[in-house]
Amino acid sequence: MDAAVLKGGFRDAPVDAARAFRAAMQAMARPGTIHDVAGAEPPAPLSQAAGVLILTLCDPETAVHLAGAHDCAEVRDWITFHAGAPLVGAEDCDFALGTWEALHPLDRFRIGTAQYPDRSATLIVERWELKAEGATLTGPGIRETARMSLPEVAAFRANAARFPLGWDAYFCAGNRLAALPRSTQVEG
């Protein structure tokens, strides 16, 4: 472990995390909206927004799965030092981190049970950019319709079809994030 790992965490954890959570909460409550976050400087290939989410939501009680290129020594050490989250396989994780392609196949992730639909994974998907265009979104949190650039439509439709089961997704690009909960209906 080199000293670079020790850097890039929240400077003022209670306040930085509070602001980051409010952005993350607004994103999850209003699918399709894009929010700026700040405070983390994680090692590549982690985006700033994904780093902020890890610092805000993950700790020794949450299992994290790193997919594809994100499963590298720098990211592993950074998450271990700053969040203390155990790193696990896709089947057991609370949070999964990677590009959309790397996260496949998606049926590995927990979708909760009929009695406890909350026991499900949250995917943190790294994207090149986030745009309020593309697929049409409807559902709770959306007044009429919203639009969001999604990596694909079929997987999100299938995920919404099994509501209240399913996983929820955050999309991160640079310092911006958006979310798509399982309750959102997606039309290509």
Partner: protein, 288 residues
């Protein structure tokens, strides 16, 4: 500031609560279990709401706390002071000025905006609890969408009283899926929950449950086609401000049967009186 961590709770507790809030928003109306902490106030004083507020507040927020609509009751004042001291946030009594509103048993009369968060204090989060005491059974009923028992209860109301006599904590169905307890708000407030622009969060401390409604979520009060839901209130205007559209408290003013109706939302009543509206007993009140 103070010797407390920002907003009192430790960071790991806040992360746990924040994760529960996000799950609640993703599954509207579903009660997410969370590891409720002991707070420096007894259960029944809003420990669930306080924990949700603590996990939600940022230093930029302006907090309003109401208890049965009033800003100046013991519960509201002490929770407001608690966050002034532990989070250093500004507080207000004006609904429009607040970014986070913690409430016990009322929704403000003034419509809330997209920039606001409404946090409810919830005593019993399980709408089926008084019909079925077993948590194992109620959880199964939610999983199977087996809500017949609730309709039997409402039917028995009609059989006994000629109408649905449930006046508060009136059960609602969220997005056609989960039956949810709206907390003990009067049923007058139920229609305000549906399609609300603000995020609604519910915290039950003793019962260790958090649930949520994202903005613009469909919330329907349960009823029957021939006995439709009615948002009722006392059939009178406010005696202080003359409002006919606000929920009223009945106040006994002497021992000779004298009484008056006043807005339960004290900020709404104050703003109306400041704008020159006067109710039947408003003048005498101002003189006294």
């Amino acid at each position: 500031m103070s010797d407390y961590n920002f907003a009192y709770l430790d960071e790991q507790t806040k992360r746990m609560i924040r994760r529960a809030i996000l799950k609640g928003l993703a599954i509207p109306g579903y009660q997410v279990p969370f590891a409720s902490r002991e707070m420096p106030m007894p259960y029944g004083w809003g420990t669930g709401g306080v924990q949700v507020s603590a996990a939600t507040l940022t230093p930029e927020d302006r907090l309003k706390v109401i208890d049965q609509g009033a800003d100046d009751t013991t519960n509201a004042v002490s929770i407001r002071k608690f966050f002034e001291r532990t989070a250093g946030v500004e507080t207000t009594e004006e609904t429009a000025q607040a970014s986070v509103i913690q409430t016990r048993h009322r929704i403000p009369e003034e419509p809330l905006t997209e920039d606001q968060v409404l946090v409810y204090q919830v005593p019993i989060p399980e709408p089926l609890r008084f019909l079925e005491p077993s948590e194992i059974e109620t959880r199964k009923m939610h999983a199977l969408e087996d809500y017949g028992l609730m309709h039997v209860k409402l039917y028995e109301d009609i059989a006994r009283h000629g109408q649905i006599a449930t006046a508060y904590a009136y059960p609602v169905k969220v997005e056609g899926r989960y039956v949810m307890d709206p907390s003990p708000i009067p049923k007058f407030d139920n229609p305000k929950m549906s399609g609300m622009a603000a995020i609604q969060l519910f915290g039950a401390g003793r019962e260790q449950r958090i649930y949520a409604l994202p903005p613009y979520t469909q919330v329907v009060s349960l009823d029957f086609r021939d006995y439709p839901f009615e948002a009722s209130k006392a059939d009178a205007p406010c005696d202080l401000c003359g409002a006919e559209d606000s929920y009223l408290d009945e106040v006994i003013v002497d021992d000779a049967g004298g009484r008056m109706f006043v807005c339960s939302d004290t900020d709404y009543c104050r703003a109306r009186r400041a704008a020159g509206h006067v109710g039947a007993q408003g003048k005498t009140e101002d003189a006294a």
